[in-house]
Amino acid sequence: MKHVFIATLLAGSIALPAYAADYTIMAPAAPGGGWDQTARSLQTTMQQEGISKNVQVINVPGAGGTIGLAQFASQQKGNAHALIVGGYVMVGAILTNKAPVTLKDVTPIARLTGENEAIVVPASSPLKSVKDLVEALKKNPGSVSWGGGSAGGVDHITAGLIAKAAGVDPTKINYIAFSGGGEALAAILGAQVTVGISGYGEFEGQVKAGTLRLLATSGEQRIPGTDAPTLKEAGLDVAVQNWRMVAAAPGLTPEQKAAVTADVKKLATSKTWQETLKTKGWQDTYLDGDAFTTQLSKEIAATEAILKDIGLVK
């Protein structure tokens, strides 16, 4: 305990002379994934825009971000300079893992980015449209294998929502989980599975090269530069976005929360951040304050409902 105290004191004394807050951003995932990339992009932007001189990223991988979240909530309490990255996948993981620490135990600040899901088939597939897919599903749900990311994640949820909207029992879908969109992509290209479902960014190159056919995307609007309909346009009442957010530590005063929100807003509107969004193919879905809080609790309720429908949450 003494060491922790000394370390805090040291960290404090180093932090004092800096002209702005020194942030620590936790990426509750291993290096390389979406959250890690978000955290590291935040780091670069904050430093380049002079929002914070010294930003550190720590990776605490595990269980859809719930391990990192639990650690963050207990260790950073009241620390106004600690941030954690999270998102839709974390909402799902909290529910499926029955995690003791939830997003209620931290201070959600703002939604930052969003990525639409894409439904693709190999170029050689007999399925030409969402209509063909729905027909195949109705005939025999088991014969349509869906390749996507981890079970209970946004890909799985979207597949379940599609089945439900098409009037097919979502517990009957044959979802094949891969350890990430990348590994799933290989199985889709090799026609090992019938349909692929993942973030559009994972498939973009293949769709442009014509090796994959884009059946639909999951957002409210079409993705610019593609001619595939949204799921809603194709007649399925489904709209899903894999969003990512940033949260601060629990136990902040309203002033501290306002200061963090101001910093994040300055970041999100900066030129550096907008350029980052462009290179990474992320959509700007910035939302903060009460609007974000309301949206978040809506998302949590909706996710819980669909996870129950798929049978992942009892």
Partner: protein, 505 residues
């Protein structure tokens, strides 16, 4: 321009003095960070990537390539000298390499690792340049059933390569398989054997288990022997350089390791460690010095290290041709490429030839720099081993602990490290081989998931496992590898085999 001209042009750019300097800085940084315990290549690249942003695209690509290869090699150094593998693909290196180091042959071990990495990197980078499109087509043919067959082959060959007693080897393997079941089942999202402990949801970390079993178990074992144990580690016996016999015994494993590692690295779900296992098993079968395996056989370092590096270049095949990152390191590299305006994918070679060939040329230069930097350092590294034994092992304990905490800052992880350290100690005392536990932990989930995926896709039809030609061939090889030794033994040739296996750890 033709492929060759592009490459030549890339090399000319990369060989400018300033760029050579960047390559050297990159390799130095990469090695320095990679040597730190618990920091594998993925984290090394993630930490150092921002350093490259301020340079022009050519310079940053070159420095980046240096960091990548440097980080890979740095991990092997700690495996060999301290028995603390920083990533799963250098576990096999620790197996023979550390034995060599403690027999006073740390110099040749480090040298064969460095030169083997260079040779493998060189060949594999040329492979990347010239046959990537072909390789990637082959890799895509591999679906769940083919991967399952490959895992079966790996199980059969690898488990027979470890341990003097089949029963003891299998016991160790099953301990590893049991540990591999812990955590969230990837296909259904349900938790298994986690007992409500959130830290167990992601299962047992391979590097934690490996470091605990190898480094902590070993330290406890040495400490328990007190002063009655074997004499202190001989730091240097003979030359620190490879002698003629070392060269003669290394060059074939380098080439075989490359041949095994490159295609497996190119497979989206292959994984670098499988190449190193298969290479180790191959070398053990082919060696003329079977008695040295388990006691520091140079082939056991040369082959797996080459396989490791070749598969690292192999992972660039799906990355550049499909935009498919198959490892954490590759995912970070993808982020890095985007920074340079490079969008990996099927159109990359057509739309961005300068940058691609620049990258490939940079890899060649970085590979060369790695050799330039590390061979002179070998003499310095082996001095680490002249540290008195109590200090050395205390240091290993410290580094193993630091590394685990560095990779995953959690008290529970530390507890697991110690618990597995005790398990490793007990297994050593009772004569059970250690390596199969780690092998089981790595291969178990891969085999299980691929089998279940194959069956889910076929909706429960078992015959799909044999009806694919590739799977059928792989399973036949596995069956032969299993049955032939049994027949040989039955014919009375068993003495040779058991003698081969008798000199085990």
């Amino acid at each position: 321009m033709s492929t060759f001209e592009f490459l030549l042009q890339g090399l000319l750019v990369a060989a400018q003095p300033m760029n050579l300097l960047y390559a050297l800085i990159g390799v130095t940084l990469g090695t320095a960070v990679g040597v730190l315990p618990g920091i594998g290549p993925a984290l090394t690249v993630a930490l150092l990537l921002p350093v490259t942003y301020r340079l022009d695209p050519a310079g940053s690509l070159i420095m980046f390539a240096g960091i990548y290869y440097g980080g890979m090699y740095g991990g092997s150094t700690t495996s060999i000298l301290l028995n603390t593998p920083g990533e799963s693909s250098s576990i096999v290196t620790a197996l023979e390499g550390n034995k060599m180091a403690r027999a006073g042959r740390g110099g040749p071990a480090l040298a064969t690792a460095a030169i083997g990495s260079f040779v493998a990197g060189l060949i594999a980078t040329f492979g990347l340049a010239f046959i990537a499109p072909v390789i990637v087509k082959l890799a895509l043919v591999f679906g769940p059933r083919e991967y399952f067959a490959l895992m079966v082959l790996a199980f059969v060959t690898v488990s027979s390569a470890f341990g003097d007693s089949t029963l003891r080897g299998l016991t160790s393997l099953f301990i590893g398989l049991a540990l591999s079941i812990i955590g969230i089942d990837q296909l259904t999202g349900q938790t298994r054997l986690a007992f409500g402990v959130p830290d167990l949801l992601d299962g047992v970390e391979v590097t934690t288990l490996a470091v605990a079993m190898f480094a902590i178990g070993e330290t406890l074992f040495i400490a328990a022997q007190g002063n009655t144990g074997p004499d202190k580690v001989e730091a240097v016996k003979g030359s620190v350089w490879m002698n003629a016999a070392d060269w003669a015994r290394s060059w074939k494993p380098w080439l075989r390791g490359t041949l095994i590692g490159f295609p497996i690295g190119a497979m989206p779900a292959g994984g670098a460690e499988i190449g190193t296992f298969l290479s180790y098993a191959t070398e053990k079968r082919l060696t003329k010095h079977p008695e040295e395996f388990g006691n520091g056989a140079i082939e056991g370092v040369a082959g797996p290290e080459a396989a490791n590096n070749a598969s690292a270049a192999g992972t660039l095949v799906p990355l550049l041709t499909l935009g498919l990152p198959t490892t954490a390191t590759a995912a970070i590299m993808l982020a890095g490429f985007q920074q340079y305006g490079l969008q990996p994918g099927p159109l990359l070679f057509a739309t961005n030839p300068q940058l691609v060939w620049g990258l490939i040329a940079s890899l060649l230069i970085a590979n060369f720099m790695l050799l330039v930097l590390n061979l002179p350092l070998v003499g310095l590294w082996v001095r680490l081993l002249t540290i008195p034994k109590p200090w050395l092992y205390a240091g290993i304990l410290l580094f193993a602990t630091l590394g685990t905490i560095g990779a995953n800052p959690s008290v529970f992880e530390l507890g697991m490290l110690l618990a597995f350290g005790l398990l490793g100690y007990a297994m050593r005392v009772f004569g059970y081989p250690i390596a199969p536990v780690v092998v089981g932990l790595i291969l178990g989930p891969l085999a299980e998931q691929q089998l279940r995926r194959a069956l889910a896709i076929s909706q429960g039809d078992f015959t799909v496992l044999f009806t694919s030609p590739i799977a059928a061939v792989l399973l036949t090889i596995a069956a032969l590898a299993f049955i032939v030794p049994l027949i040989l033994r039955a014919r009375g040739k068993g003495e040779v085999l058991s003698q081969m296996a008798a000199e085990e750890d």
